[in-house]
């Protein structure tokens, strides 16, 4: 029991160096940054992927099918390592081919790229489903008004599909915030890794992991509130979901 009660040593959480509070907050900040970046990248890839799957020719459709199937069947940890090495290798080869210097990719950029690529596969499926759920009559009405393909998508398909996509996209956001923890395994200093270092250095494993869990939980709960606002905004005028 002593270890549990003695474990809550508030001095260890002080914000300045003898305490580890500052490190944890910096980790949390990195986590949020990586999650946001990866989410936005995933959305862009997903939008492109969904359009490609719906309108693309056979080659594009099949490559996207392989992309989504492969990403969704392989554990994130394996993907993170594969994409990290493959991505930095390809980038450096490309740079060398262009006669530029090799670069070291920052942990932040690598984390965003790796998780974003993974998110893109899931987002493709979510957005594709949402696009197909838009009643075709509405799009045809747009075409009848003489709107171009681009106008039809900007004015009709994308706004109309948002309510269908929100539950899936909200889920993806919650997944990516938690997936950032996996980057600890490859050594990016986000919240999970900062926590592990703090726990290892002070030997108060229990306390630090509980605090990290609480920080992640807080992130999720705050996200839930924001998601509810967004959903209420985009579903206005539509019947309530039970």
């Amino acid at each position: 029991m002593d270890a549990i009660l003695g474990g809550v040593n508030w001095e260890l959480l002080a914000l300045s160096p003898p305490g580890w509070g500052g490190n944890l907050l910096r980790g949390l900040f990195n986590t949020i940054q990586i999650a946001l970046g990866a989410y936005i990248l995933g959305l862009l890839l997903g939008l492109g992927g969904a359009l490609g799957k719906i309108y693309g020719g056979p080659v594009l459709r099949w490559s996207l099918e392989i992309y989504t199937t492969f990403i969704r069947a392989v554990p994130e940890l394996v993907l993170i390592l594969l994409l990290y090495y493959a991505g930095t290798d390809l980038l450096n080869q490309a740079l060398e081919a262009m006669g530029a210097e090799r670069v070291d990719i920052s942990g932040l950029a690598a984390g965003i790229y790796v998780l974003g690529f993974v998110q893109g596969a899931y987002a493709t499926e979510v957005l594709r489903g949402a696009m197909l759920a838009v009643p075709p009559g509405q799009v045809e009405a747009g075409a009848a008004f003489g709107m171009t393909w681009w106008q039809r998508h900007r004015r009709i398909v994308i706004p109309a599909m948002i309510p269908f996509a929100i539950p899936g996209l909200a889920n993806l956001w919650l997944i990516v915030t938690k997936d950032t923890a996996l980057l600890a395994v490859v050594g990016f200093s986000e919240l999970a890794l900062e926590t592990r270092q703090a726990a290892g250095a002070t030997k108060s494993y229990f306390m630090f992991y509980v605090i990290a869990a609480l920080l992640y939980l807080m992130l999720t709960l705050v996200s839930n509130v924001v998601i509810r606002w967004i959903e209420r905004y985009y579903r206005r005028g539509q019947p309530e979901l039970s």
Binding site: E76, V78, L174, K178, Y205, V210, A213, Y216
Partner: protein, 231 residues
């Protein structure tokens, strides 16, 4: 691409595969056994129980599995030795091993996610069917066993297949607490041979096969469920 290392490490991969399947099977079994009551009390249980189940699901689903795993293995694990006499007790060999901690962590994770799925599943069974069962004079447990649970499971069968794949994909996390399942064996190969891509690609292939097997098993089982199709 060089695969010379494969024959040498093949037996280790087989052991690792066995460990992965053990982790998956045990945590799914215990996790589902917990998820059914967790889902049920949220639909019909007394308020405090329903509230506790809801809080459990929120906490489990709101924190990364990696943190849960480390909290249980390093956190709880570091507290046990301070209990007097525990090193002499029969529990010590179990508490010293990483495997039970991993099973425990994966079990509560499965229970949290699947509890949420089962809540929706139990709620989705039409009331008329339950009322009909009660009208036949069935005991509440008989209603659950014969009507409510089978109908609920049937409705979420495809979801459960997806969740099982997600659980499979989270088993590599066990490698971070010294359990050498398939992914762990892969990291050993990477460290010992300095090959970067081949072991990772091999691992990806193994997981794709496992996912395929799960999908096929569920599709086969799904086709065995009799259902009336809307004409």
């Amino acid at each position: 691409m060089q695969w010379y290392w494969l024959p040498e490490y093949a037996p280790k991969f087989v052991d690792g595969l066995f460990l992965t399947l053990q982790l998956l099977g045990l945590s799914l079994f215990f996790g589902m056994a917990l998820a059914i009551p967790i889902g049920l009390v949220q639909v019909t249980g007394p308020k405090p129980l329903a509230w506790a189940a809801r809080a459990f699901c929120t906490v489990i689903r709101g924190t990364p599995l990696l943190i849960q795993l480390w909290l249980i293995y390093y956190g709880l694990g570091s507290l046990f030795p301070s209990i007097p006499g525990i090193r002499e007790s029969f529990l010590w060999p179990v508490l010293r091993d990483a495997f039970p901690y991993a099973i425990f962590a994966f079990t509560i994770s499965v229970a949290g996610y699947e509890g949420e799925v089962m809540r929706g599943a139990f709620r989705g069974v039409p009331r008329g069917e339950l009322e009909a069962a009660r009208a036949f004079g069935m005991h509440p447990f008989t209603v659950l066993r014969r009507v409510w649970l089978p109908r609920a499971l049937q409705n979420v069968f495809p979801t459960l297949a997806g969740e099982m794949v997600l659980t499979l994909k989270s088993t590599p996390l066990a490698a971070t607490i010294t359990i050498f399942e398939v992914y762990g064996v892969g990291t050993i190969v990477r460290q010992e041979t300095y090959r970067i891509y081949e072991p990772l690609i091999f691992l990806a292939g193994i997981y794709i096969c496992l996912t395929g097997v799960i999908v096929l098993i569920f599709r086969w089982a799904e086709n065995r469920i009799p259902r009336t199709r809307a004409a």
